[in-house]
Symmetry: C2
Subunit: 503 residues, 2 copies
């Protein structure tokens, strides 16, 4: 290393990141294939490959050569660009975290995840939590161990939260959820006492092939570049970049009796894809490519899904296309009915189908359950009963089976503990972004005309282009020019639902 | 290495192969995704990853540690099992070949292939050979260089042939094609002078979704395990194993105006998949997994496609299902008409759609063209004109455009030069396998009853289970218990077409 010039080291830094991106591409596509296309009996085969590739990543990332390179760059950071400094910081942090995990446990965990996802799918189909329980126990056990290895002095659940959102902890979550709760609960009560919305317009017979056409219409409408963003179907919709933001995939799930589920999945995942693919091209194949954190990501996906997609103007905009695709179904109906149908607020079983008002309550339940498991205050085997009890308490409804209860989300099968709060935070960030955006962009006029250019350019300039250049809190500071304030979101909900329900 | 025990080395041999299988899985699925699902603008992104992963494979395969291990095992081969001996032989041969290619050229070639496939697709769509020409020139140039590096004393086209079929060369190909030609050309002349078959039953309107149902029916019928064999659609049908024979994928292409194209693609690729997935499970994740050579592979695919699939008994067997799926189309028709329609012999433009009788002529054209390019007797830019001239000479037809001419096959875009003869050899092997199989299996009764068990078990026991344990010539010797003799195939064609056309 003594003989290495800074320019050499800089080049090696880029080569290192390109190599890591290639492995991520390989592992990402094996995962993606497993969810979309692979025959049902092939999970073991994928697990075998994943364990070998993740071992390679571990070995290469923690090699003496890599660490020497990064430490050399870190020691010379004043001569690096700010992007390079951030790359070195993020890489070193990741590697130091990874080094704290014994290699055999890291590999076993990767393999467990592939199998757990497979078993979760089957358990969900069979509505049988017991089938999934031993896998989930192991996943939580690993997460607890890993948390201890990496941040021995941190609360293990704070460690989980911090993974998806630099700086997030239970204290700020608790405060945030308290604020939300005190805004939402009384509003929901007023809504539930008002005359209810008839949302039967959602239901009918919508063939997959026609819904697929609708998906592509929506993807183009919100400004996705279909040469670089693909669509597939999966059990649970998600978005992933393969190798770089130049190859982005979103997925949806079609229910032939309800067009709105997939419609809003596509717009939601489309928001993620806009964020990812909006990275400056020079960030491709670096750790700065794509989004910076899950809550900023969710702020974008839920901005497009809800703030735009569930607005009156958007419903009016897309109504003619819906009528063209499903002429019999929409005959004699209008855009206002659509707007009302897709905004009906009522306690329900499934998070991804929840309205904006009750959505955060679903998140709070998951947050509380994860917190208790990570603190050994709840056993995994008791999750279904506790899940059902909390749905009764928070939402007043009975959970009929595990498929529509504790098995509904894929997150836990992928080891994503501490992820859920980012959805609720994302909602709240989005409302504050909207307030800021309105200072320079006529958002309603954009939606009304179907020209999302100005909205997308605002998001691109303020958020997307930077990828992971800035910490989430820096992004928020730069955009808000003020503190984060959940009141924007509560205010948004208040206005929307007061008008909608004539409160 | 001095301290290494033989048992250690054996274990490392298996670990090495598992690692190589993982990289093949990764690169295989990136290729597969590119053909099936990826958005159109993502080839460059795939190329970036492929070049890095192939560099890793090159580096790891040719590392001192790997070579030392294999040479140690080779030196102690009398203590190895015959399977292990064959693994070491194949690995060492591959590595020694690979070592002769400079790493930068190897990587550049991998990257070129990804881009070439992408450009070929686009050039084919646009029917524009000029678009593809510079890529094809480079692919041929690399192949010539690689042939010189690996076998400096061998004719470069013999090297190509030998790659897909250990021991194959131009001399034996020329002799084989001469025999075929002298059997086929006069037979074809008699057929062309006889009253022609009406094959209009093939044509109609067959929605993709219903053809997809037919595909799955056929896959199950011929005995594929759908838990381990998947189906997708691509421009050009193919079969690939991902990681091991435990995850096999076949593809087809649906033409909504002709059900028979996809039907026979599925049965053809299904034959490949039966062979691959029929490997003994203990061969998974080793170099002995899957088929041994392209011609043995094609002997299986074309056995199921033609000898079984285009038999009168098979047409009778599947007719009720066709009638169920396409009731209006098949109303008033019978299985005999189907049998005649799918066996009509006539010179045509597209190899994959050719009947059994003219098929080998398509192969001979490609063989002659490749031979001349590899010998610098023909320039790539002159390929379309020469292609068209030879189609006129061999088949008596005019090629209307490059899409239906020189751009029709994907092989060259994947650098598969010397591959085509294996199709014709496979046909001929298949006919000789059939003669042998008939000694113990009532093949016609199996087809008639739809019970492919005895046929599949014969193939599994004689061919599939062994994977690449034996050289192709050893397989043939063991099964035939005699010399390979193309007369079996010519005799098969003679009997079939004499009866069909009442000659």
């Amino acid at each position: 290393m003594i003989n290495m010039t800074l320019d050499d080291a800089r080049e090696k830094l880029m080569a290192l990141q390109r190599r890591m991106a290639a492995y991520e591409h390989a592992m990402g596509i094996i995962y993606y294939d497993g969810c979309t296309t692979a025959p049902s009996g092939t999970a073991g085969n994928r697990a075998a490959t994943m364990s070998i590739l993740s071992e390679e990543v571990y070995r290469q990332s923690t090699s003496e050569e890599t660490i020497e390179l990064l430490e050399f760059l870190d020691a010379n950071k004043e001569d690096l660009s700010s992007d390079e400094q951030r790359m070195v910081y993020l890489l070193l942090k990741d590697i130091r975290d990874m080094q704290k995990i014994p290699m055999d446990e890291y590999i076993a965990y990767q393999e467990l995840m592939v199998n757990a996802e497979d078993v979760w799918q089957k358990a969900k189909d069979a509505s049988d939590f017991d089938m999934f329980c031993p896998y989930l126990e192991q996943l939580f056990a690993y997460q607890k161990k890993f948390a201890k290895y990496i941040d021995p002095d941190m609360d293990p659940y704070d460690h989980c939260l911090n993974q998806y959102e630099e700086g997030l902890n239970m204290e700020s979550c608790d405060r945030f959820f308290d604020q939300l709760r005190s805004g939402i609960v009384p509003l929901l009560k007023r809504v539930s006492e008002a005359p209810q919305i008839d949302d039967s317009l959602r239901r009918g017979c919508f063939p997959e092939a026609v819904q697929d056409e609708l998906s592509h219409y929506l993807m183009k409408l919100i400004g996705l570049d279909l040469d670089h963003v693909g669509l597939s179907t999966t059990e649970h919709p998600f978005t992933t970049s393969l190798g770089s933001h130049l190859d982005e995939r979103i997925t949806t799930h079609y229910f032939e009796d309800d067009f709105a589920y997939s419609m809003y999945s596509v717009v939601h995942e489309g928001g993620h894809a806009l964020y990812d693919t909006g990275s400056d091209d020079e960030l491709a194949y670096t750790v700065l490519d794509g989004g910076v954190s899950m809550s900023i990501h969710e702020s974008q996906s839920r901005f497009y899904e809800n703030i735009i997609g569930r607005s009156r103007a958007f419903c009016k905009l897309i109504f003619p296309e819906l009528k063209r695709l499903f002429p019999e179904h929409f005959e004699g109906h209008d855009a206002e009915e659509l707007y009302r149908a897709v905004n009906k607020a009522q306690p329900s079983l499934i998070r991804t189908e929840a309205d904006e008002l009750t959505y955060s309550l679903h998140i709070m339940i998951r947050y509380e359950l994860e917190k208790r498991i990570m603190h050994d205050e709840l056993e995994v085997k008791d999750l279904p009963a506790e899940w059902n009890r909390m749905y009764k308490e928070y939402l007043g409804i009975d959970v009929p089976d595990d498929r529509r209860g504790v098995l509904q989300d894929s997150h836990w099968s992928s080891g994503l503990f501490g992820y859920f709060p980012s959805y609720a935070l994302g909602n709240a960030y989005g409302a504050q972004f909207l307030a800021k955006m309105r200072e320079t962009v006529d958002v309603d006029a954009c939606i009304a005309s179907g020209d999302f250019g100005p909205v997308n350019e605002w998001n691109r300039g303020h958020i997307w282009k930077h990828g992971a250049r800035f910490k989430p809190s820096e992004i928020l500071d730069r955009v808000f020019e003020a503190e984060f304030d959940p009141a924007y979101y509560i205010d948004y909900l208040e206005k929307k639902y007061t008008e909608l329900y004539g409160l």
